[in-house]
């Protein structure tokens, strides 16, 4: 029908139910379910409450950053320094832990480092008007570089016992603290993006920054806040990861920025900005977690998994465009 005329106007709009069925989120959910079923056939160890609970650690920390990154990418910017912020925040916490400070202080230091790093990125991008890709490639080297200066080839250990709860604690049966935090953050970011003025401003900026500016949105301030939020979430992820590993090396969370960006893009967020949803990112987190966990159970080494992640990243963007080209 569509080849009759490009200006063909349908008699009536598609029903919401049909539109939902065609949406990226539903497609992704179908992928997640099929991976889940395939996994349970591929390995007898997959359908086990504790194993599945372990599997969530594959994505919870990355997903926390991905929520903030989704907002940032929707607004048309990107932050490639998130993994390095984790390294720096973890190093700061490790250095503090050597002076026998309390777990609460460590958490504040982790969050504070994240906020400072995010604000630094935000200042360079919105204050000086520099392109975020280059700025965050620069701060990516700088932040991790500082960790290397501090630590060299050493590692920090000796975190207080209470600190272990954030990465190793369980709230109820197999439900880990990280999983609860992940769910809470998903709800918070979902409301922030989809139900508040701030969220609408983020979409507006991503679609047309100049238009947004002329409609009274403080574009620079919103972008600055988004960078700070991304830094803060990297700090949260640093606390969880450091607590889970119990040690800090400067190479901690190496190349995570790639997986976080992949998660966001896989979740249906346009890399060019302007569109995407938090539920999409949540499902994408589960898809990536299930894929890595399933392949892990089949003894596939981590670096080979990264081939799948890389192919997934290109594939999910290429597929709709290939389908489009085939239709024409």
């Amino acid at each position: 029908m569509s080849d009759l005329s490009t200006r063909h106007i349908p008699d009536r709009l598609e029903s919401p139910a049909r539109r939902l069925l065609k949406s990226w989120e539903v497609l992704l959910l179908a992928v997640a379910v099929s991976i889940f079923i395939a996994n349970s056939f591929a390995s007898p160890y997959f359908l086990n409450a504790w194993n599945l609970s372990d599997a969530t650690f594959n994505f919870t920390e990355k997903a926390m950053i991905a929520f903030a990154m989704a907002l940032l990418i929707i607004s048309g910017e990107i932050d490639l320094s998130v993994a390095s912020i984790i390294a720096l925040a973890s190093t700061a916490m490790g250095a503090a832990a050597q002076f026998d400070v309390s777990a609460a202080t460590l958490v504040l230091i982790g969050l504070g480092t994240g906020v400072i790093c995010g604000a630094f990125n935000g200042f360079l991008v919105t204050g000086l008007g520099l392109p975020s890709i280059v700025v965050t490639i620069g701060t990516m080297s700088l932040f991790r570089g500082i960790s290397y200066i501090v630590l060299g080839d050493q590692a920090y250990r000796g975190y207080p016992a209470e600190f272990a709860f954030f990465g190793q604690g369980y709230v109820f049966w197999v439900i880990s603290f990280e999983l609860v935090l992940f769910a809470a953050l998903a709800v918070i970011y979902g409301i922030l993006l989809h139900k508040t003025d701030f969220g609408r401003a983020v979409y507006a900026i991503g679609n047309n920054p100049t238009g947004a500016l002329f409609s009274g949105i403080k574009v620079a301030r919103v972008k600055f806040i988004l960078f700070v939020l991304t830094g803060l979430m990297s700090g949260v992820a640093a606390i969880c990861l450091t607590s889970r590993l119990g040690s800090t090396r400067p190479s901690i969370a190496f190349a995570w920025e790639l997986e976080v960006v992949t998660m966001v893009v896989l979740g249906g967020v346009s890399i060019l900005g302007g569109s995407g949803t938090i539920p999409g990112v949540v499902i994408a987190a589960f898809v990536m977690g299930l894929v890595t966990f399933g392949l892990g159970l089949l003894n596939v080494p981590g670096i080979v998994m990264s081939i799948f992640i890389g192919a997934l990243l290109i594939g999910v963007i290429a597929l709709p465009r290939l389908v489009d080209m085939a239709r024409r």
Binding site: V134, V265, I271
Partner: protein, 326 residues
């Protein structure tokens, strides 16, 4: 315009000379001709990659897969050499150029035909190429004793007082200089990056030009792959890990605008030399090599901030000229 660009390179050259003077003040042996040619030779891979990256960035793209391309090509030729020690170096060179070009073409096709943002494409292919090294090598190393003497000796061949590696970098630089300033393709890189819409009206295929830039960048990365593996006499999964950032840093420091269309080959070479001198000077002035990463990062940020400052000038100069003539 030309004037401002020229001064940009002059500033960088000045900075390099000041840097050298500061090092020479405490450690005179650092600036002896012998040591400087060593520094140049050590920086040669960075220069070659920065040349390719410059072409890509000129067309408003970015290629983050160069280091992974280098490592994969290096591993392939190292394994080929182990399996067939008799293979002439000329064949090895052709294979590394072709393989690099092929990987560059994959990037280019995805950017050209599917219009996927270059940063996403090359982030993806970067991990895929790295993963493939593990797949083909099974995670093991190819060590010096498994490589033939001709294979490892080629980059070290002395010619007119300089090793082959340095000469290849010089040749690549000269070729790029001529191409960028004297050929339609070279001018197209600037046109596409400067104003894609205007480029289309001038009869330039934007996607095809970007594709060409990626192929050239990949080709140079492939060539460097062989040279790198032969020079260090070892190939493993993680060689040149994170090197893509150093390459981008060299370009940004050299004044190549990440927004495309502005920057010169000479600038990129000077940017690479700046980083190379810093890297080689660190151990001499007794600073831990762990500082290298933070210094590169700071250099990128300072350079990009500096670029943004100078970018505002041309407009003002045009306005001033327009005002003066009216």
């Amino acid at each position: 315009m030309m004037h401002a660009l020229k001064s940009r390179e002059a500033i960088l050259l000045g900075a390099i000379l000041v840097l050298l003077a500061m090092i020479a003040w405490r450690f005179p042996s650092f600036v002896s001709p012998g040591n400087l040619s060593n520094v140049f030779n050590d920086t040669a891979p960075l220069i070659i990659l920065a040349l390719g990256q410059t072409l890509v960035i000129l067309t408003r793209c970015i290629d983050l897969s160069v280091a992974a391309n280098l490592a994969l090509t290096g591993m392939v030729v190292a394994m080929l050499n182990t399996a067939m020690p008799g293979l002439p170096i000329a064949v090895i060179l052709v294979i590394s150029l072709a393989l690099g070009a092929f990987m560059g073409a994959i990037n280019g096709l995805l950017v050209w035909k599917l219009a996927i943002p270059p940063i996403v494409v090359t982030l993806g292919t970067m991990t895929i190429f790295r993963g493939l090294i593990f797949v083909i090598s099974d995670g093991s190393w190819v060590n010096a004793h498994e490589m033939s003497d001709a294979f490892t000796g080629f980059p070290r061949l002395q010619f007119l007082g300089l090793p082959m590696l340095s000469w290849i970098a010089i040749c690549c630089a000269l070729l790029c200089l001529v191409m960028v300033s004297r050929t339609p393709l070279g001018r197209a890189f600037y046109a596409v990056g400067g104003n894609p819409n205007a480029a289309v009206y001038a009869g330039i295929d934007v996607g095809r030009t970007q594709f060409a830039a990626f192929v050239l960048s990949g080709t140079l990365a492939g060539l460097t792959g062989y040279l790198w593996v032969a020079r260090y006499s070892v190939a493993y999964v993680d060689i040149a890990g994170g090197f893509e950032l150093e390459v981008v840093a060299a370009c940004v420091i050299g004044g190549i605008s990440i927004a495309g269309g502005a920057g010169t080959i000479v600038g990129a070479i000077l940017g690479a030399l700046f980083l190379g001198i810093v890297k080689n000077a660190l151990p001499v002035v007794n600073i831990s090599p762990f500082w290298q990463l933070a210094i590169s990062g700071s250099a990128i940020i300072i350079a990009v901030a500096f670029n943004a400052q100078t970018r505002r000038k041309p407009g003002r100069i045009i306005l001033r000229r327009a005002e003066a003539t009216s």
